[in-house]
């Protein structure tokens, strides 16, 4: 690991100023950053340690019914917060389906949003990677790309975003609060991560020095609590990144779908909201045929980026099953295997 200057700011304003310098990076828990630094994948000159800043580790219920999650709230604390998990069960399930207990105990909310892709070629400094080294090419194209993107990819980059948490957040219209030198701004999480295009090295809309201070869920997001699930298919039952995942949230009135939310993970360089599929569900009866139709629409634009055509079929099935699980109702207790297709089933599953 290359050495670095260590800076511990006393306020958000000081942090933003210290992190605006070229080569600076924010340090929260460091569960992804230190791993990348040990591998020589990222080589910051300065770490701005924000873990000692006050007031960023709170979950606040605001007067308008929205919930504000501070950037330093730990993944485990959010998932195990009873009130939060009751109101946003799909988010808690997504969090608990990710990483290991040790990592969830350390990893922060802001850090989860900013974690880097797990593309093996990005992680290997000897490989060509336009994200790590712009203009060097992409060894994932024509390489081992079974797990790579099927939506929104470009010739420059076929990596995926690895977060589970972000998938459920995007389904529920989360907003990111950002502090910069020019003050505070906010942006929907759906518009926060960038697709690769010609510049896969630019991963989010953050400008130099800008810092995530909170993630906010609108009041409306809690209206899906009775029918909200996260489903994640991976190579191991636990402690593995998604091959494909889906968050599904429904509002059902007298057997008819009044509102629907779907987002997919593991398919693109950002959490992928499937709005056309949501439209198809509106006004329909919650049954397998409708879910399959919606799932087909969700993948209508999908294209293999290599040996990963199977992911399109898999994603269709994962979306349809996530919808069936959501329609069957949020289980009273978190499943023993959160997000797992092997978890004890509740209700009728859609085998498609």
């Amino acid at each position: 690991m290359k050495t670095f200057d260590y800076v511990r700011p006393a306020s958000v304003r000081e942090a933003v100023s210290a992190a605006a310098a070229p080569g600076a990076a924010y340090l929260a828990a460091g569960t992804n950053l230190l791993d990348l630094m040990k591998g020589g994948v990222t080589r910051p000159d300065r770490l701005v340690d924000i873990t000692h800043l006050p007031d960023l580790d709170r979950i606040e219920n605001l007067a308008d019914g929205s919930v504000r999650i501070g950037a330093l709230v730990r993944n485990a604390d959010l998932a195990h917060d009873r009130d939060f998990a009751r109101r946003f069960p799909a988010i808690a399930e997504a969090l608990l389906s990710g990483a290991s207990a040790q990592l969830r105990n350390a990893a922060s909310v802001g850090g989860n949003l900013l974690q880097r892709t797990r593309c093996a070629y990005f992680y290997d400094p000897a490989s060509a990677c336009n994200k790590r080294n712009p203009g060097s090419g992409c060894d994932a194209r024509g390489g081992d790309n079974r797990l790579h993107a099927i939506l929104g990819w470009s010739e420059s980059c076929i990596a995926t975003h690895p977060s589970d948490f972000c998938v459920a957040l995007v389904a529920l219209d989360a907003v990111v609060e950002i502090e910069g030198r020019a003050g505070r701004r906010e942006i929907p999480l759906e518009a926060f991560h960038r697709l690769p295009g010609d510049s896969p090295d630019r991963e989010s809309v953050l400008e130099p020095g800008e810092m995530i201070v909170a993630v906010r869920l609108p009041a409306e997001a809690a209206r899906f609590a009775a029918h909200a699930r996260y489903l994640k298919v991976r190579d191991r039952t636990s402690y593995a990144f998604a091959i494909v995942s889906a968050a599904a949230a429904l509002r059902i009135e007298q057997g008819v779908i009044a509102q629907a939310r779907i987002a997919m993970g593991g398919v693109a360089l950002k959490p992928w909201r499937a709005r056309e599929a949501e439209q198809i569900l509106l006004g329909g009866r919650a049954d397998t045929a409708l879910f399959v139709r919606a799932a087909t629409a969700a993948l209508a634009e999908a294209k293999p980026s290599g040996d990963n055509g199977f992911k399109i079929v898999l994603a269709r099935r994962v979306v349809a099953r996530a919808l069936a699980l959501a329609a069957a109702g949020t289980p009273e207790r978190m499943p023993a295997l959160p997000g797992s297709p092997f978890a004890a089933a509740s209700g009728v599953l859609a085998h498609v």
């Binding site: 260590y6 105990n105 636990s238 023993a336």
Partner: protein
């Protein structure tokens, strides 16, 4: 540039000079304080052999910078027994053969300790396996490990009840 970090380690408060900001909690324990119970397996947060308890939660000490944890309370495997009396989690690992070569065992035991404190798994073996998935055992002693965690949970639960009553 010189730094220092103040940590309470197994109940003893110490201020440690650091000449390099790159020192992880794991390296600090092993290389500077001769507390070699926490193991360096992968050094990348994948194997769990370095698991320790920091401020009441189990974490991977290989991915934690010592300088950033200034003021933290640290519990390692060396601080678990009381004199010659092993902690119930340690007793249970012996009783159930929750190990073979022993390399991953300090991490397994500290992870089990943290898991029981978290109170999320209870007496459900499937929840225990899921909650212990961040600790790899290449000898494959998982069955004994799961049994040990379940028994330790029962023992500690009974002890807590006695204390309350």
């Amino acid at each position: 540039m010189a730094f220092s970090t103040t940590l309470t380690i197994n109940g003893v408060k110490r201020t440690i000079a650091l000449d390099d900001p790159r020192v992880t909690l794991l390296d600090l324990l092993r290389e500077r304080l001769n507390l070699t119970g926490a193991k360096k397996g992968c050094d990348r947060g994948q194997c769990g052999a370095c698991t320790i308890i920091v401020d009441g939660r189990r974490i991977n000490s290989c991915l934690a910078l010592a300088i950033s944890h200034d003021g933290a309370d640290v519990l390692t495997i060396e601080g678990l027994a009381q004199g010659d009396r092993l902690h119930p989690v340690q007793e249970a690992f012996i009783a159930h053969d929750g190990l073979q070569c022993g390399f991953c065992t300090p991490g397994q035991i500290m992870s089990a300790f943290g898991l029981i404190q978290e109170g999320q798994a209870g007496d459900d073996p499937e929840r225990v396996r899921e909650a212990m998935s961040g600790n790899l055992c290449r000898c494959g002693a998982y069955r004994g490990i799961t049994e040990a965690v379940l028994e330790a949970h029962k023992t500690l639960d009974a002890l807590n009840r006695k204390e309350v009553a």
